[in-house]
Amino acid sequence: MTRVFVTGVRLQLLQLMRSGFDISAMLVWPIIFASIAFYLLDAKESPRLLFAASLGTAVMMMWAQVVVGAGGALDNQRVFGTLELLVGAPVPLVTLIAPIMIASGAFGVYGLVVTIVWGRLLFGIPITIVHPLAFAVSIPACIVAIGLLGLITAATFVLYRSAFALGVAMQYPVFIATGLLVPLSVLPAWVGPVSWLLAPTWGFRAIKAAALGGSPWPAIGMCAVVSVAYLAIALVCLAFFERLARSRASLRLA
């Protein structure tokens, strides 16, 4: 199973790095979101605020890549006729789909680099990491947590033949609800508890506290907690939706 997982991550990363669409999206969208945030928040006002906006944009890109990229990856499997083979393979489906999610989240590191470099070069935002070790830990913790949240959505993607469209629709609601660029304080009060259930909230808090100061370890711990919870939920969902897709014979429908 480990070999299947590692091979899956490697293959997905190779595909992403050869996809003009994914690479251009990962280069263009972080710049767009970061620039809008920088121009709106006013670059001269608070470099710390702008650096936080860079990090928020990077986490947005991780989520976008997981939910859109992974939806697209599963759509492609349908189009290429390999989804049936994946589901029919004698290994748990989670070891085949989780690598797609984790690799997509890891691909979002491109977005982190792009936003930080863009902010530094164009807006002169200083890059200072207060807790380098915690920063180095927080990034993979965030990637895994977001990837595993993506795994739950992927369970529906196995059944739903327009996974890419559903993935596209799920971007902004999570951008809003997790307080990445918009503070939760300006949102309705009920959004707060919703945000606690979503990995980008904790991933962003961990990365932000590690970079700008604060205590990142509780948020890193929450990343681990939600990751375990997501995995448990995803296993149940995957088993259910896989059985449904098999019984409906819908895996081949593209």
Binding site: G20, F21, S24, A25, V28, W29, I32, S35, I36, A37, Y39, L40, L41, D42, Y160, R161, S162, A165, L166, V168, A169, Q171, Y172, P173, F175, I176, L181, V182, P183, V186, L187
Partner: protein
């Protein structure tokens, strides 16, 4: 008469194919849910930054939603032919090219308009923005002008589908760029001078400006100039798109690259 038949038959068939034969599972997530949440995201971002009113972002992102529908729709209506390997068959036909592509442009303009109406109405209802009947008429005109311009740019993007396979890549990058360059989410005055100059040549910029003027109380007569500029830009893009289509079709035939994927 035959051109008219090509115009309608190709336009309707292409439009149905665009959404998996009018599949609501594609239409609703991408063209209803996505634009509404995009509006809300930028409205809240604007409130955080204390820049612009809710109406400012509502109008800007409504127009961007229409642009996405028009540009992706037009782009994919040509790019999709390559994906489904029907491009050589299509281009082997002696059909009038203007009728062929104009037939595809009209449904995308109407889709963009419909998307904008749905997202504006939903956004306005959620945010409590009120629009009077006169303002609605002026906003409709500004929106139609912008949809036309975006379809023109979409034809330019779609023409790339005659030479390459990743039309979506260009449509995605340009629609993303319009979020900022057109002034949809950042007041144009905050952008660098060179970007402002570039923005004046892009779709949406004048349409959004006209719509915001209407929302601020300007009459229909006072936005005529802005709408004229938007339509003029649309005509230029449309002409450029048709020229590119002819050029790339010729190149595709010469190099035998029409069915390469």
């Amino acid at each position: 008469m035959n051109d008219l038949r090509v115009f309608f038959a190709c336009g309707v068939t292409s439009f149905r194919a665009l959404f998996g034969w009018i599949n609501p599972y594609v239409f609703v997530p991408i063209l209803v849910v996505y634009p509404i949440f995009q509006i809300l995201f930028f409205v809240y971002l604007g409130r955080t930054a204390h820049v612009g009113s809710d109406t400012f972002f509502l109008i800007g992102n409504t127009f961007c939603g229409a642009a996405v529908a028009a540009m992706f729709g037009m782009g994919q209506s040509i790019g999709g032919e390559r994906r489904f390997q029907t491009l050589p068959t299509l281009l082997a036909s002696p059909a009038n090219r203007l009728a062929l592509y104009a037939g595809r442009a009209v449904p995308t303009v109407l889709t963009g308009f419909l998307v904008a109406v749905i997202s504006f109405a939903s956004g306005a209802a959620i945010l409590g923005v009120h629009v009077s009947g006169t303002e609605a008429v002026a906003l409709t005109l500004a929106l139609l002008a912008s949809c036309f311009t975006c379809a023109g740019l979409g034809l330019c993007i779609g023409s790339l589908g005659l030479r390459g396979r990743s039309v979506g890549l260009f449509a995605d990058a340009i629609s993303g760029g319009l979020l900022i360059i057109s002034g949809a989410n950042v007041p144009l005055g905050r952008l660098p001078g060179a970007v402002q100059t570039f923005a004046s040549l892009m779709p949406l910029t004048h349409g959004i400006k006209a719509a915001r003027a209407v929302a601020s109380g300007a009459g229909l007569g006072s936005i005529g100039g802005l709408l004229g500029k938007e339509l003029l830009i649309g005509c230029v893009y449309l002409a450029a798109g048709l020229a590119l289509v002819v050029l790339f079709e010729h190149e595709g035939r010469r190099t035998g690259a029409l069915d390469r994927f």
